[in-house]
């Protein structure tokens, strides 16, 4: 049959009516799900401890908080930005909240202030990007350095011991509701909320328009600068929240926390389908990206692979995963 006929001849049903399996196979995230599934199966055979509740719990705890960062990063990437400061802004949130707490401030108030400060940092970056007109990359790099410096300044380089945090505060990071750690519940709430919002709300749809073609979006009356400003701010605000959860979890605030974390977070978002040129990406995909990276690390540790081989294997799996995912998506088209 001739495929170049007019499109009217084509009778493509609206997406909603396609059977579930077919819809699944058409999704951007399917490749990743399959790769993760394959790793799961391999690991279940390789280690008897893999498929235990305790291991699953430990593995999910390992990526849950980073998950918040990846949500912010994905949304920012969709809008066409990038943020290298996530690691140090997260550290700064811990440090500032911890510092305030040690100075006698109620830990909840201290946390709120730290999150507000991170939001302010995001707004600061957003200002330089949208008003001054600098590139996200360079602005966030400068902020990454400044925030790390501020961490040093607040702590004199020394980790703050926050063992005295009240139990109800530590509960956020260390407690469980039934068998489910609070951290994982928070993570799931954020993922589901943001995934839904990003897919369905008009507000977040504008993020896609802005990232896809800022000019076209602006011509349609979208305040693209505002959108970019907000996604930049949101990303930093989520860093603040993540920093507080980490603080509650570890009972300490480390000025060196999250060195190099930005690359892991960006990698996760990109593996999950976020485009570095903006305009596409999904929370579900990005979370699968975090899960994949974390799964590989956990598996290597579980199998006690030699340290000297771990990085090589990790890098190779990363490359293999994106390659496979790429071909699976190409095929699907």
């Amino acid at each position: 049959m001739d495929n170049t006929t007019t499109l009217a001849a084509q009778d493509r049903p609206p997406t909603a009516n396609v059977p579930v399996l077919k819809r699944f196979l058409q999704m951007r995230e399917t490749g990743l799900v399959l790769i993760i599934l394959a790793l799961f199966i391999i690991m279940s055979f390789a280690s008897p401890y893999f498929l235990t509740w305790a291991n699953m719990r430990a593995m999910s705890m390992a990526f849950a908080v980073d998950g918040l960062l990846v949500i912010g990063m994905t949304i920012l990437l969709i809008s066409g930005g990038i943020d290298l400061s996530v690691g140090s802004v997260t550290a700064l949130a811990m440090v500032v909240a911890g510092w305030l707490f040690l100075g006698g401030v109620n830990p909840w108030i201290a946390s709120a202030m730290a999150i507000a400060m991170c939001t302010g940092i995001g707004a600061f970056m957003g200002f330089f990007v949208t008003r001054v007109g600098l590139h996200h990359f360079i602005v966030s790099l400068a902020v990454m350095v400044i925030a790390r410096g501020a961490c040093l300044l607040f702590t004199g380089g020394r980790p703050l011991g926050l063992y005295t945090l009240p139990p109800e505060f530590k509960f956020i990071g260390q407690g469980s509701i039934g068998p489910f750690p609070v951290v994982i519940i928070i993570f799931l709430v954020f993922v589901i909320a943001f995934d839904f919002m990003l897919r369905r709300t008009t507000m977040f749809r504008k993020v896609f328009y802005t990232g896809s073609n800022e000019k076209a979006a602006a011509y349609s009356g979208i305040r693209t600068k505002k959108v970019i400003f907000l996604t930049t701010t949101l990303c930093s605000a989520l860093c603040g929240i993540a920093g507080i959860i980490y603080m509650a979890r570890f009972g300490s605030a480390q000025p060196t926390f999250g060195l190099g974390l930005e690359l892991t977070i960006i990698a996760a978002a990109v593996i999950g389908g976020a485009s570095l040129n903006g305009g596409s990406g999904s929370i579900l995909g990005a979370i699968l990206g975090v899960i994949l990276l974390s799964l590989v690390s956990s598996s290597l540790a579980l199998l006690d692979v030699s340290v000297y081989w771990q990085d090589i294997i990790r890098g190779t799996i990363l490359l293999a995963a994106v390659t496979i995912d790429h071909y699976l998506n190409k095929r699907r088209r």
Partner: protein, 311 residues
């Protein structure tokens, strides 16, 4: 002349990653010794983990021709030439915590990582018996951390062949990485009895993982942070071995100052003909402290630093 400093006589302490808290008590010791002799001190180096930058900062110190530099060389060989040049320029050099043995530095002061490892191994065996499973976290690339781990493993192999090493993960002072690695190790080895961790950052993550897993694995580590101190007090961490940083700085100053005042020493050796500094202290051990539940309160750096000037 004499042992006291002249006005403006300055001694420099040069380090890499200069924001790291390890240097803080070292520099306090350095300063205390210097004040006793009426000398001035400067804390210098680079905030980065970058050898090029540290060499540049060292050379810039050298330009000001200070009396001496207590140096923590990020790497031994790259510093040979700059150290020798500094000495030729009239600035005495003593290394600490990391050495440049092939240079002409007049002394090296450090804590003996092998002794720490041996102590840790004996303590672990004393606590969990000599046929148990143990694991280590490590930080390949950083020599003192590396030595603490490899020396312990070697010691175990040589003396307690029934001790089984079941986990060995690189976590590079990152508590979140240590958290993840420890969680996996604990899952994979239900009989794990003890862990040895060469620094405190990873220990923080490891203890969080231990508590979450409800495991009773014995954790021992080197260095200390406020958080690990609290965990020691609470019994979550068995003990920590902490180098005597103050002594390191104090004796480091003594070594470099004496090297600079070598003329007050007329030794029984060939220094006059060889032209070598007669005050040569090839190796000095500053010792380490064992931190347990009982003495933990004395190791709170934040308490110690109250009212002191960090720089």
């Amino acid at each position: 002349e004499g042992i006291m400093c002249e006005p403006g006589e300055t001694y420099v302490m040069n380090v890499m990653v200069s924001g790291h808290p390890y240097w803080v008590p070292v520099y306090q010791g350095f300063k205390q010794a210097a004040e006793a002799f009426g000398c001035e001190t400067v804390f210098s180096g680079t905030p980065d983990y970058d050898i090029t930058k540290q060499i540049a900062s060292f050379e810039q110190d050298m330009i000001k021709t200070p009396a001496g530099i207590l140096l923590h060389p990020m790497q031994s060989d790259p510093f040979i030439e700059p150290i020798n040049r500094a000495i030729a320029n009239g600035t005495e050099i003593v290394t600490f915590a990391a050495d440049s043995p092939n240079s002409n530095r007049s002394g090296y002061i450090t804590s003996d990582n092998r002794a720490e490892a041996k102590f840790a191994a004996e303590e672990i065996v004393a606590q969990v018996g000599d046929s148990a499973e143990y694991a280590v976290l490590e930080n390949p690339g950083q020599s003192n951390h590396d030595l603490r781990v490899t020396a312990l493993i070697e010691y175990m192999e040589a003396n307690y062949p029934d001790m089984k090493l079941v986990g060995r993960q690189a976590t590079n002072q990152d508590s979140n990485a240590a958290y993840k690695a420890t969680a996996s190790i604990i899952q994979a080895n239900p009989n794990l009895a003890a862990m040895w961790i060469p620094e405190a950052g990873s220990a923080e993550g490891a203890v969080a993982a231990k508590l979450e897993a409800g495991s009773d694995v014995l954790i021992m580590h080197a260095d200390v942070t406020p958080t690990t101190l609290e965990h020691i007090k609470a019994g979550n961490i068995h003990m920590s071995l902490n180098p005597n940083q103050g002594v390191q700085g104090f004796m480091g100053f003594m070594a470099v100052h004496l090297a600079n005042r070598s003329e007050i020493f007329d030794p029984f050796n060939d220094w006059k003909t060889s032209g070598f500094n007669p005050v040569q202290i090839p190796f000095m051990d500053n010792g380490f402290a064992v931190i347990t539940k009982e003495n933990a309160d004395s190791f709170d750096l934040n308490v110690y630093m109250e009212g002191r000037d960090p720089a």
